[in-house]
């Protein structure tokens, strides 16, 4: 027993561990991903996918055989290839008809399957490219200096979510042509970084900063600077010295930079210029593309056609034709001209469609396009009468779920220069994390500088969190709509009374608060767009005691700044007021008048209300020191000053309260944040039919209800003949006699049932009556010796029994009335029954 118990305990512990493990799965995943960092060489990737093992049996016939037209095409291609090798014996063999997944030769142009998918994100080239690069896992070419021997259909590639650069390009090209771009697959040469999708030397696009341009202009009547009265010689000497130091510094800096550059330079590539790559070219013209450009399908980035990463082009093709580059690629792609109609530069394979011109579909076609896009595309191509056979590939289909999940298993990692970017599908992580960028200090990615996380669909509207690992400062950004209009929150720790900055969406707040900066003994608030022109409030707390609420209510000094209110004269418009609460002083500074350099000032000193003789002091001139600009000491009357002071004192009280409110607001926000962070709930759009649990339930309930309704209806028109037909067995060959018999049976059965029912009611009725009679007899016998309660019980029983009897009587009577009617109705129904009617008609 003991041992058993121990075992049980161990098991429980193990269970607990298992829970813990599942909790820590996230962390583990992260760790694993970090481990992968050290083996960026994709060639050594441990999970090698075996393409030969894929199941091709389910694929349609067009994948397995060639149609007559396709055979013709292959023939032409072979001919073209022969001529080409004869004319240009030095060049590499063309990439014309590789094997597909079923081992059948297919011409590359027919592998392109222009498709329009129903997702708005895929309507533009950048969206398409991003999708392709996210959705597929990159595989390097089996031989980096040769094109692959086989090229699979885009559908297969999509199914297994992996492929090489050719697969990427074919899929992307299919999508781009589908949405109307003039896109081509390009087969050529590129640098190692491009071929290997090695972005470790690129700066992460999320880290790039936009440059600001500063403009300065000089005016005609600008004043000249005052004359410089210093010695020119001395200045020159000083400048010389300065310059020398500067030069030395610069030299040092340059050296340093050079050293860094050297360190960052990639190792020389022995296969430079030989590495085969495939990418996509988009020509200008269609879809308002102003200038031709390349898209690298791995990274979804666009490059100009003169970019140095692309080292040469062998050939390019789309779904209608194939062109071989006849221009020199000594200079990379810089000198290439993409006028495909020029046979000197581009050798085309099919004559019919030399340069694909911009086809303006007439209105009819356009309408059709809108109606039935996919099928129409095929038809159109056929109608064009080009020699190219229609694509053998099935239409590309991507379900909504697959589209949303994006990356294989919903996760993707990209390495950049000193940075790592991880992506997740929305709703994959329970805290809504969709992207995480880790910035490192060094090239080897060991020391973390900064982590940025992007979230989606969070209930607390958290959009991004940035953690600086050096200063330990966390910055959180929120979308509009958070409680109290919170926009950003910068903090070191979530404890109250520590350093923090909160930014707000000031448009949504009544007080127009934009920012609140806080530390242990200070609080600064910035406002925007207030009707009282306040834009800045600084509160100084003297010594902080422990409890926040108490101290916040006792500020030491409050300073407020105002913008100019143009309705008041500058001399009466306060720019700054300082309430020195502990010193019992109030300082006012007014706005500067036009062309004045000194501002009016006023200082109120609150004194004891009682003077040394015990008289009440109301206001004396020395309680207010003022400096009035412009006017020669024309003091305001004391009464005005007194009124002003009263008002200011009122304001002071109000301000104290305001400050206290601000403090409590901070605490409240912190509390709310803590709760939200603990819960980390995700929101689901009501339009999201997959994830909206409530909607789903409702829909399911409705479906269930519908089904029940249907069932009930089925029951209602119950087949009353069924049991008899079963008894009789075969009904197909029913004789007239049998039909009659069936009808009779059915009717008799019904009659018996009616009689039974009547009998049952009768029996019950009699029973009730008998019981009542018995009770009545018993009552009469014991009437004298009965208590009041018993009597009452008897009376209630009697009335109940009478009620029941009456009901039964009524039911019986009604049954008697309706039974014949029901019988007749059934007879009629039977006569009209399709199974019996023909027999019975004869009988009738």
């Amino acid at each position: 027993m003991e041992a058993l118990r121990e075992n049980e305990a161990e098991e429980k512990e193990e269970e607990k561990k298992a829970f813990k493990i599942s909790d820590e799965l996230q962390d583990l995943e992260e760790k694993l991903s970090k481990i992968q960092v050290h083996i960026p060489n994709m060639l050594d990737c441990p999970i090698e996918f075996d393409w030969s093992s894929i199941d091709t049996s389910q694929l349609p016939a067009s994948y397995k055989i060639n149609s007559a037209k396709e055979k013709m095409m292959l023939h032409i291609a072979a001919n073209f290839c022969r001529q080409y090798t004869h004319l240009c014996p030095d060049r590499k063999e063309l990439f014309l008809h590789p094997l597909n997944e079923c081992g059948v030769e297919k011409f590359v142009s027919t592998t392109v399957r222009p498709t329009l998918l129903p997702y708005p994100e895929l309507y533009n080239w950048d969206g398409c490219a991003r999708f392709v690069s996210d959705y597929l896992t990159m595989e390097p070419l089996p031989n980096p200096i040769e094109p692959p021997s086989c090229l699979f259909s885009p559908t297969t590639i999509l199914k297994y979510q992996r492929g090489n650069c050719f697969d990427f390009s074919m899929l992307l090209c299919s999508l781009l042509i589908g949405v109307g771009y003039d896109a081509y697959c390009v087969y050529g040469y590129a640098t190692r970084e491009m071929c290997m999708m090695d972005e470790t030397r690129e700066v992460c696009p999320l880290l790039k900063k936009s440059k600001e341009t500063v403009k300065e202009k000089t005016e005609k009547y600008a004043v000249k600077p005052p004359r410089d009265l210093r010695s020119k010689f001395e200045l020159q000497q000083a400048a010389k010295k300065e310059a020398e130091i500067q030069v030395a510094k610069q030299k040092k800096q340059e050296e340093e930079e050079e050293r860094i550059m050297e360190a960052e330079k990639p190792k020389p590539d022995s296969l430079y210029g030989l590495r085969v790559h495939a990418w996509v070219l988009i020509l200008s013209g269609k879809r308002e593309v102003p200038e031709s450009f390349f898209i690298d399908p791995f990274t979804a980035k666009s490059y100009s056609t003169t970019d140095g990463h692309f080292l040469g082009i062998e050939a390019l093709w789309n779904h209608v034709n194939y062109w071989v580059n006849m221009q020199s690629c000594l200079n990379g792609c810089k000198d290439l001209i993409f006028d495909l109609g020029n046979p000197l530069r581009w050798e085309f394979m099919l004559l019919g469609a030399d340069k694909p011109l911009l086809l303006l579909p007439n209105e009819e076609e356009e309408e059709e396009l809108a109606d039935e896009d996919l099928d129409n595309l095929d038809k159109e191509e056929e109608e064009k009468g080009s020699d190219m056979p229609p694509s053998w590939v099935e239409p590309i289909q991507i379900s909504l779920k697959e589209f949303e999940t994006r990356c294989p298993q919903g996760k993707k990692v990209i390495h950049y220069k000193k940075a790592k970017l991880e992506k997740w599908a929305p709703y994959l992580n329970s805290n809504g994390l969709v992207e995480r960028l880790t910035v490192f200090e060094d090239q080897d990615c060991t020391k973390v500088l900064e982590v940025r996380q992007w979230f989606k669909n969070r209930e607390d509207l958290l959009e991004m969190r940035q953690v600086n690992k050096i200063t330990e400062v966390t910055t959180e950004y929120f979308s509009p709509g958070h409680v109290l209009g919170l926009k950003a929150h910068v903090y070191k720790s979530t404890n109250p009374e520590t350093e923090r900055t909160m930014e707000f969406y000031n448009e949504t707040r009544v007080d127009g608060l934009q920012k609140r900066v806080e530390n242990a003994c200070e609080m600064t608030e910035y406002f925007v767009g207030r009707s009282d022109f306040l834009y800045y409030r600084h509160t100084n707390f003297g010594k902080r005691t422990k409890r926040a609420q108490i101290l916040v209510a006792n500020p030491d000094q409050i300073k407020e700044c105002f913008h100019r209110n143009l309705e008041k004269p500058a001399n009466e418009d306060v720019v700054e007021r300082i309430f020195m609460i502990s010193e019992e002083r109030i300082l006012l500074t007014y706005h500067l008048q036009e062309n004045y350099i000194t501002a009016s000032k006023r200082e109120f000193i609150k004194r004891a209300d009682v003077d040394n003789k015990g008289n009440k002091i109301i206001m004396t001139p020395d309680m207010c020191l003022s400096y009035q600009v412009g006017s020669s000491q024309e003091d305001k009357k004391l009464i005005h000053l007194y009124k002003m002071m009263l008002k200011l004192m009122e304001e002071e009280k109000h301000l104290k309260h305001q400050v206290w409110e601000s403090g409590t607001e901070v605490l409240e926000i912190l509390k709310i944040r803590e709760e939200e962070e603990g819960a980390s709930k995700l929101t689901v759009s009501i339009y999201d039919t997959e994830r909206n649990e409530k909607g789903k339930k409702q829909r399911e309930a409705m479906e269930r209800q519908m089904q029940e309704e249907r069932q009930r209806q089925d029951e209602q028109d119950l087949d009353y003949l069924a049991p008899f037909i079963i008894q009789m067995g075969n009904i197909e060959k029913m004789t007239k006699w049998q039909a009659l018999r069936l009808k009779e049976d059915c009717l008799t059965d019904f009659k018996y049932r009616l009689i039974d029912k009547a009998n049952i009611i009768q029996v019950r009725f009699e029973k009730e009556t008998q019981e009542l009679q018995k009770k009545q007899q018993w009552y009469q016998q014991n009437q004298l010796s009965m208590t009041v309660e018993d009597e009452e019980a008897y009376i209630t029983y009697c009335s109940d029994a009478m009620f029941r009897i009456r009901i039964l009587e009524m039911r019986l009577n009604r049954h008697k009335e309706t039974a014949p009617q029901k019988y007749i109705a059934l007879e009629e129904k039977l006569c009209k029954d399709p199974r019996l009617s023909e027999y019975l008609k004869l009988y009738a």
Binding site: A222, V223, K224, N595, Y596, I597, L638, I639
Partner: protein
């Protein structure tokens, strides 16, 4: 209503009454004590109540320049007067008086609430300027004509009206008429004007109202058109080329020229005149376009100058403020420290240093000012030169074009003379066959007469052209002088006020210091 004069002594508004009223209605409690000690200036009073005082004549209120609310109800005032200086008045109560006509309110443009309840007014009038009026009470008066109420249509902000107790209320159309004619009115005789009545009224008076509206719209359109025209003309005048875009000058040349009109009857003259006129007009048009162009140029020049001046001044202001701020930051708390220190010597040295600092500050600011004056002087000189250049080119070109006009006139004159003499010869030889009026024939008596006539016409024309030229040149020159003078004047004023400011600030600082020193021995 009206009181009997015999029983009550009429009163006048005098200093004593005002003083008393102000004190009674002024600040109370502590503030009141203060106010009593200091006395209240009438110009600081914003509200005044002078009711039940048997005042017969409004007077002596001119001192209350900032009054916003004035109550003169329940007196025996007969005439609205002496309120012209109370331009800030928002609320005026003249109810329960003996007023017979509305008058003397035209200066009270800010008036929002006017009560004339219980008077003897028989006509609503003389209120055109009270565009801010929101509440108007004129109940218990002698108003008889409903049409007169339509006068209130011009007050677009009027929301509340009280007419109860007037003879016109007996008219059964009364409420309908008011609702229709004053559609923005919310309350009539203390009651909400309900939607139902308004709709009914609208239907009933639709035609009348439409007519009224159309008339108003037309008047408005006319006014706008006139304003636009006036604006255009002002613009042309500013460019000194008014009326030069048409035949105005040419016509003015012939307007006072009787001889030319007579000569026009001669054969060949109308054609000649026509070509002359066309050529002359085209020159005028050219002049006009040139004038506008030059005007724009001058304006642009001036605005550039002022913009630069503003920038320079802003920079200077910033610099000055910075210097002062630095000074203040340096010496903040110094006085307190000096007060607190026990050692007399330290305090003394510190104060001495502070004094030096003040003088230094004032010197720095003065230097800055001198420097600014130099800088500004330079750009003002530039500006002056440029403006002078602009104006002189303008004048030269105008003179050139005017010379063209004169050439045309001379040419025309020669032709005219030639034809005239030819005609004279023909008449002398009796070869002239055409009919001409007698007074024209009178000219052709002898050669002198006709030559004189033609010359007289020519002189008139030249005079007109000269006048116009002189006009443009004088105006341009005076503009130049005015602009330059204004710039100099502004600069001078600025410089003076700055020097004064610096001195004042210095005095202020030193006074503070003196106060401290005088306190010290005591403490």
């Amino acid at each position: 209503m009206s009181r009997i004069y015999d029983t009550i002594e009429p009163n006048v508004i005098d200093q004593e009454m005002l003083q008393k009223a102000v004190e009674e209605q002024g600040p109370q409690e502590e503030a009141g004590q203060l106010a009593k000690r200091e006395g209240i200036d009438f110009k600081d009073v914003t509200e005044l109540q002078l009711d039940f005082r048997n005042i017969l004549k409004i007077d002596n209120l001119w001192q209350f320049a900032n009054l916003t609310k004035l109550q003169l109800d329940n007196n025996i005032i007969e005439k609205i007067e002496a309120l012209g200086s109370l331009v800030h008045l928002v609320w005026l109560d003249l109810s329960f008086n003996n007023i017979e006509t509305i008058e003397g309110l035209h200066a009270l443009v800010k008036l929002q609430d006017l009560s004339l309840y219980n008077n003897r007014i028989s006509k609503i009038e003389n209120m055109d300027t009270l565009q801010e009026l929101q509440i108007f009470s004129i109940g218990n008066n002698n108003l008889t004509s409903l049409e007169n109420v339509a006068y209130l249509r011009k007050f677009s902000k009027l929301r509340t009206l009280n007419l109860a107790g007037n003879p016109l209320c007996d008219n059964e159309q009364y409420s309908m008429f008011i609702a229709a004619h004053l559609p923005d009115l919310v309350y009539l005789d203390f009651r909400l004007v309900d939607e139902n009545t308004r709709e009914l009224a609208e239907i009933k008076y639709q035609y009348a109202i439409d007519e009224l509206k159309q008339g108003e719209a037309q008047a408005l359109a006319k006014l706008e058109e006139e304003q636009a025209k006036q604006k255009e003309l002002d613009y042309h005048k500013a460019a000194y080329v008014e009326y030069l875009n048409g035949p105005f000058l040419f016509e003015s040349m012939y307007a006072e020229d009787a001889e030319a009109n007579k000569l026009a009857y001669l054969p060949g003259i109308p054609d000649l005149l026509e070509t002359y006129r066309n050529k002359f007009e085209s020159v005028c048009e050219k002049l006009f376009a040139y004038g506008l162009e030059q005007y724009e140029k001058r304006q642009a020049e001036v605005s550039t100058f002022y913009k630069c001046l503003q920038e320079a001044l802003a920079a200077n202001q910033e610099q000055g403020t910075k210097i002062i701020l630095e000074f203040e930051n340096q010496n903040v708390g110094l006085l307190e420290v000096v007060q607190d220190t026990s050692s007399f010597d330290i305090a003394e040295t510190k104060l001495a240093k502070y004094n030096d600092d003040i003088i230094q500050l004032s010197d720095t600011l003065m230097t800055l000012e001198m420097q600014t004056v130099d800088q500004l002087e330079e750009i003002i000189k530039d500006f002056e030169r440029n403006i002078a250049d602009l104006v002189s080119t303008f004048i030269e070109n105008v003179q050139g074009m005017m010379a063209q006009c004169r050439d045309l006139e001379n040419h025309h004159h020669e032709k005219l003379l030639e034809i005239s003499i030819n005609t004279l010869e023909k008449i002398v030889k009796s070869e002239f066959e055409e009919e001409i009026p007698d007074d024209v024939r009178m000219l052709f008596v002898d050669k002198d007469t006709i030559v004189n006539a033609v010359n007289a016409s020519h002189d008139i024309h030249l005079l007109k052209i000269d006048n116009r030229e002189d006009d443009i040149i004088t105006k341009a020159n005076s503009w130049q002088a005015a602009v330059i003078e204004e710039v100099h004047k502004n600069e001078m004023a600025r410089n003076r006020s700055r020097v004064k400011e610096i001195n004042q600030y210095k005095d202020h600082l030193q006074k503070e210091l003196d106060n401290l020193e005088s306190l010290e021995p005591v403490e």
